[in-house]
């Protein structure tokens, strides 16, 4: 039934009245099936990556269940609700980020968590992954598109303020994703190519300046390590050397499920969190990686389809930005584990063990489903 829907929709304009059950519960069945496939694959890999710790798999299952509920809830809300609430949520988010810097708690030298009495402790930066693109989309869609330079400036300000606060924590990975989400909104809004070009020029010029004035030593170290892991094979270079070894030794079809020596003999660090993709690559090989990347690509294509056929600019911008953020997640994680990018703490979306990011991601898919299923009869 889902497949039939898909073809019908691609063949012509979607027909509002023929969606039946799925439309009623505001779920896109195609996206749901793809997500569930990815999540199931992820749980299998996690069982291996966690060295057969079934307890960890169960905990992750519970988290995924919770995330699915969050997705359903977010899907029920009309996109107009998000638009209306965007500036308020943004305000709360920025205040929370400032509070984190002042009274936050954390570990390993970074303050990321906020513990408000009576509430479970949470990570405001995680929330901002959603709030920033929505707010930028809200702002830009109030005006004609393509936006004027002034509006672009204000939109960038909306993006960079929380991003800067998150960098301060410091949490480079999340800041990067928040920034990327916001910038994709600006890009999708149709800013002129000259601005895009100028932006990239500015980035390449400021990169050396960043190196000398902004980046922490440990961040510089990560870049250096990427360039020459063998300089410190047992220290900074260990992670990248071991993960490349894990991926490379997998070969075409891998060593087989639970047979990965790099992960099971503890050579591979963080084999159930950030480096879980190396476990998959080692045990299922190049073929397995193609399946994984294929699943991600299908999810992204489905989401872009939703974005393209969204009814208004706000929805399009939000859907496009969230989709691309999701892709950047995948790209950065696989890129860093395979030694293309420096090590930044970005988990493999929907597969890595850990709670917060899964809930945020599924909330984003909930918003996408909401956009796809809340349609007004009159197509404008």
């Amino acid at each position: 039934m889902a497949a039939r829907d898909f073809f019908r929709q691609t063949a012509s304009r979607p027909l509002m009245n023929s969606r039946g059950f799925w439309a009623a519960i505001h779920v896109d069945p195609i996206l749901l099936v793809l997500l569930l496939s990815l999540i199931s694959l992820g749980l299998f890999v996690l069982y291996s990556g966690a060295d057969r710790d079934i307890g960890m798999v169960k905990a992750q299952g519970v988290r995924i269940g919770l995330a699915l509920v969050v997705m359903l809830v977010f899907a029920q809300l009309d996109p107009a609700v998000y638009r209306r609430w965007a500036p308020w949520l943004y305000g709360v988010g920025v205040i929370a980020l400032i509070s984190v810097l002042l009274v936050g708690i954390g570990a390993k030298g970074a303050q990321r968590w906020l513990a408000i009495p009576g509430l479970p402790r949470f990570q405001p930066s995680e929330l901002m992954k959603l709030v920033v693109p929505i707010t930028a989309a809200w702002y830009l869609s109030r005006h004609f598109l393509p936006p004027r330079l002034r509006h672009v400036g204000i939109a960038l300000l909306i993006v960079f303020l929380p991003m800067g606060l998150i960098v301060k924590q410091p949490d480079l990975g999340t800041a990067l994703l928040v920034g990327v989400a916001g910038l994709f909104v600006v890009f999708f809004a149709g800013i002129s190519w000259r601005i895009v070009g100028a932006f990239f020029a500015a980035v390449s010029v400021s990169a050396p300046l960043m190196w000398f004035f902004v980046m922490h030593d440990y961040q510089k170290q990560r870049v250096l390590t990427l360039l020459d892991p063998e300089s410190d094979p047992l220290g900074a270079g260990w992670n990248i050397i071991q993960s490349k070894t894990a991926i490379g030794s997998g070969g075409w079809s891998g060593k087989g499920w639970l047979q990965g020596t790099q992960s099971h003999l503890a050579f591979l660090p963080e084999s159930h969190t950030d480096f879980i993709v190396a476990v998959l690559a080692e045990e299922f090989g190049f073929v397995g990686m193609m399946v994984l990347l294929g699943l991600y690509l299908m999810i992204i294509l489905r989401c872009l389809y939703i974005a393209v056929y969204a009814q208004d600019s706000f929805s399009r911008l939000v859907a496009g930005a969230l989709t691309m953020t999701f892709f950047i997640y995948v790209f950065v994680n696989v890129g860093m584990v395979s030694g293309l990018l420096p090590i930044v703490g970005v988990p493999l979306p929907l597969v890595s063990y850990g709670g917060t990011s899964i809930v945020t991601l599924m909330a984003a898919f909930g918003i996408l489903m909401s956009i796809h299923t809340h349609r007004r009869m009159i197509t404008a």
Binding site: P146, Q242, L317, G335
Partner: protein
């Protein structure tokens, strides 16, 4: 809203679609990048990373070969291997070494000496992650206690190791030598691959001489280890090749008898089978327990051995260089006959002394009033000094030196006896070089009765006696009989190099031997008491070696000192005369006279060897000493 209130929604949609196409393009490029990267790692460079991954987890461990066993000629095990449990520490895996050692000291009985030795080994160069032994020979209780506390002690392991054990420790120490820990010096000379798993190496004796043969070939096993270095499983292995088991000519019954006969004395016995050159017994008394040295002897124990006035560590049979005294007379007799210095019938008159020239120094005979008219045979039988003074002058140093050299004096003629000394065979050149003095006729006179500069080891005396027993045929002394189950294994025994002694008239052998026979069984023989009532024939020669010249230190009258100033008693001989089965050299330090002390001792060895041992069954010895062995094992 600015002018033109209507948002151009269609245009905005088209704009978004264009942007989406652009994004899609870049997205596919980036996915392509990832796919390319994965292809590079997983397909193109797969081999490299596969190797890296294996190198990570697979480690090669060497497996020490089992050291070859040593048997005596009757198959009695005299050097074996037994498992010893020791506690070892891998310093690389220990967080706080001092704390761990402290903890171990509370669990086990760790002496200060163990700790000192441990710290010394810690300083020595070693392979990384190599375990350093802290204490050996753990009891089962201690092993159990360690097992209970193991979780608190990372890097601490209990190892079972096969360690050399000598069931007849004291009796065989001077023959077999012993193995011990490889030291820094040896580490530089051994093959690091073949000794990768071995901790012990032959330090002396047979253990050292046949080290390569006994050691065997190292084996390997590839083990899978995790990132923390713990071994998980064995992937594949190549078994080590055990060292070869060898059998010696040594007869433990004879060896034991020699020890029993010398009990309470200091001395040495060497017995050789003339036909083969095989060493039947090689006793140096007192001995020491070689087992003490295997795992490392304590400082106090070592000092006790080293400082003992009886010198138990000193191998008298191989390294004790004594003046041969009259035992050298048969060899000189052969020399005198063959060189023409005398004949069988030539007689001289012995008045009790010898003078080089009228009115010169008198060289005394041991028999103050002299032997009267004597020929060579009488001179051997009665050990007449004056006769040999005379022939010594007639031969001169060069002839004597030449003939004695052919009997093996002045060189180590043994094939596989490690550490044997060459003694001293004086010659004109030697005296010029070492003493920076010319050879005086008086030196020849002294040399004629085996005094003066001459020095010989018991092994050399036994060897020369065996050459006489063989009528000049050389069989160089050796310990190795054969390799047990060694079909096709080339014998590691070195080639023989000595040439037979060919006399102008070979019957001279029988003449001299008949003189030696009369020593034992003739009416005037010096050892006739020792040789009486024998059912077989035997030949011999007694000897007495002066420790101090007689005109010295009469004031010392403490018993101990006096005992140590007495002459050394010597005896050489073989039996039976017609078909020699055994040739012996016996020396009893400060034993008094050769005829009174050394000869009766040799007679008992002859009796046992030719007539049979009191408890004929070789198994009896094995079982008796087997009990002793197991008793020591559980201590």
């Amino acid at each position: 809203m600015p002018w033109g209130e209507f948002k151009d929604t269609a245009a905005e949609r088209r704009l978004f679609q264009r942007r989406t196409l652009v994004v899609l393009f870049f997205l596919l490029v980036m996915v392509g990048l990832l796919v390319g990267r994965l292809y590079q790692l997983q397909v193109v460079e797969h081999e490299t990373f596969s190797t890296l991954s294996d190198k990570n987890r697979v480690q090669v461990q060497s497996v020490a070969p089992t050291r070859g066993l040593i048997y005596d000629r009757n198959g009695i095990l005299i050097a074996e291997n037994r498992p010893v449990f020791s506690v070892t520490v891998v310093p690389e895996r220990v967080d706080d070494l001092d704390q761990t050692l402290d903890h171990l000291s509370r669990l086990l009985n760790v002496s200060d000496e163990d700790l000192t030795r441990f710290h010394r080994r810690l300083e020595e160069p070693r392979r990384p992650f190599q375990a350093i032994p802290l204490r050996y020979d753990l009891t089962e209780k201690e092993i159990a206690r360690l097992a209970v506390h193991r979780y608190e002690l990372p890097g601490v392991e209990v190892n079972a190791e096969l360690v050399r054990y000598y069931p007849y420790g004291k009796m065989t120490s001077h023959v077999l030598g012993y193995v011990g820990r490889i030291n820094r010096n040896e580490l530089q000379h051994i093959d690091p691959v073949n000794y990768a798993g071995t901790n012990y190496i032959g330090k002396s004796g047979i253990e050292r001489f046949y080290e390569d043969f006994l050691h065997g070939k190292v084996g390997y096993q590839n083990v899978e280890t995790n990132a923390r270095g713990r071994t998980l499983r064995v992937l594949e292995s190549q078994n080590p090749e055990s060292g070869h088991d060898i059998r010696l000519y040594l007869d433990m019954r004879l060896q034991k008898l020699a020890f029993d006969l010398l009990r309470g004395r200091r001395g040495a016995v060497v017995a050789i089978e003339p036909k083969t050159g095989g060493i039947l017994a090689l006793a140096s008394v007192p001995g020491f327990d070689a087992n003490q040295f295997v795992t490392g002897i304590g400082i106090d124990d070592y000092r006790a051995l080293k400082d003992s006035p009886d010198k138990p560590l000193f191998n008298r049979a191989l390294r004790g260089q004594y003046p041969p005294g009259s035992t050298i007379k048969p060899m000189l007799g052969i020399a005198a006959l063959d060189s023409g210095a005398t004949t069988r019938d030539r007689k001289i008159f012995d008045p009790g002394y010898f003078q080089l020239k009228e009115g010169g120094r008198r060289y005394r005979d041991w028999k103050r009033w002299g032997h009267g008219w004597v020929n060579l045979k009488d001179a051997i039988t009665q050990s007449c000094d004056v006769y040999f003074y005379d022939v010594a002058i007639r031969m001169g140093v060069d002839v004597m030196s030449d003939y004695l050299g052919r009997f093996g004096f002045g060189s180590d003629t043994s094939l596989d006896v490690s550490g044997a000394l060459p003694g001293l065979l004086p010659s004109r050149e030697w005296k010029r070089a070492v003493r920076n003095a010319p050879w005086y006729p008086g030196d020849s006179v002294n040399m004629g009765i085996g005094q003066g500069f001459n020095l010989a080891t018991p092994l050399q005396l036994a060897t020369a006696t065996a050459v006489i027993a063989n009528r000049g045929h050389w069989k160089q002394p050796r310990l190795l009989k054969d390799v047990v189950d060694g079909d096709g294994v080339p014998s590691p025994l070195p080639e023989e190099t000595r040439k037979d002694i060919k006399l102008k008239d070979p019957s001279e052998w029988e003449f001299v031997i008949s003189g030696m026979e009369d020593v034992m069984q003739g009416a005037h023989g010096t050892a006739r008491r020792a040789g009486s009532n024998a059912s077989y024939t035997m030949a011999g020669k007694t000897g007495t070696a002066q420790v101090f010249s007689l005109d010295k230190d009469e004031e010392y009258d403490a018993d101990e000192i006096r005992e140590r100033l007495r002459d050394h008693a010597l005896f050489v001989g073989f039996a039976p005369v017609e078909d020699p089965k055994i040739a012996v050299a016996v020396i009893v330090e400060n034993g008094g006279s050769g005829s009174g002390t050394a000869a009766p001792l040799a007679r008992q060895l002859f009796d046992a060897w030719i007539l049979g041992f009191p408890d004929q069954d070789a198994g009896t010895l094995a079982s008796v000493d087997g009990e002793q062995k197991s008793g020591e094992g559980t201590q």
